[in-house]
């Protein structure tokens, strides 16, 4: 890994952290419940992208499985929250 790629990875992770910070501001501000669910779903997606970048950074395939799990858990969580907003119960 050259210094250039290492620098690019650090910059990308910083941009992701900024994106998560802005989304967290939306999550805390609202104003409605569906805004918060949308922001949480976005945070899940960006965290998953962060795992993929870390897989390149540490040359490891384990992060890939973590990213796949984050996609699936984020999906299940967002669907459960959306169903809850729709009817007041999850199933």
């Amino acid at each position: 890994m050259t210094a250039m790629l290492s620098l690019a990875i650090t910059a990308t992770l910083l941009l992701y952290v900024l994106a998560i910070g802005v989304a967290m501001a939306r999550l805390f501000r609202g104003p409605s419940a569906q805004d918060r669910v949308l922001a949480l779903d976005f945070v899940y997606v960006v965290g998953m992208l962060m795992m993929l970048v870390l897989a390149i950074r540490y040359e490891s395939e384990v992060y890939f499985e973590g990213a796949l799990l984050m996609v699936l858990f984020g999906f299940v969580g967002s669907i459960a929250l959306a169903k809850f907003l729709l009817r007041g119960e999850v199933v």
Binding site: T2, M4, L5, L7, A8, I9, A11, T12, L13, L14, L15, Y16, L18, A19, I20, G21, V22, A23, A25, R26, S32, A33, Q34, D35, V37, L38, A39, D41, F42, V45, V46, M48, L49, L52, V53, A55, I56, E61, F64, A67, L68, V71, L72, G74, F75, S78, I79, A82, K83, L85, L86
Partner: protein
């Protein structure tokens, strides 16, 4: 790993970071919830594709053959992201109508009368 591939990987990663930040700014700045729903799609499509291509190029140029397993992530994302969006849109529509808003607005202004 050749230098050319490394430059491509670095550019793809930086582009995905910028796209994710643009999506977050859209999530913050757009006015209405139904406008805000458009912004995160940028992260789950374009940013995810860019990172996937970067990852495939990086793990394929190590001399151990093609490494296409990261493709699975965007396949799963392209199945789950529209489902989440539709469920959230239905929930938002239901809640806004329950609160008394006339949604969706009429397509044409009714000025014929």
């Amino acid at each position: 790993m050749p230098l050319f591939a490394e430059i491509v990987v670095a550019l793809l990663l930086l582009a995905s970071g910028v796209v994710a930040l643009v999506a977050a700014l859209g999530l913050w700045r757009l006015a209405d919830f139904f406008q805000r729903m458009h912004a995160p799609a940028l992260a789950s499509t374009l940013a995810a594709w860019l990172v996937t291509f970067a990852s495939i190029i990086h793990f394929s140029t190590r001399g151990e053959g093609l490494a296409l397993h990261v493709w699975l992530i965007i396949i799963v994302l392209s199945i789950t992201a529209p489902v989440t969006t539709i469920m959230l849109a239905r929930a938002a529509l239901f809640r806004r109508r329950l609160a008394g808003d006339a949604l969706p607005p009429p397509l044409q202004p009714e000025d014929r009368a």
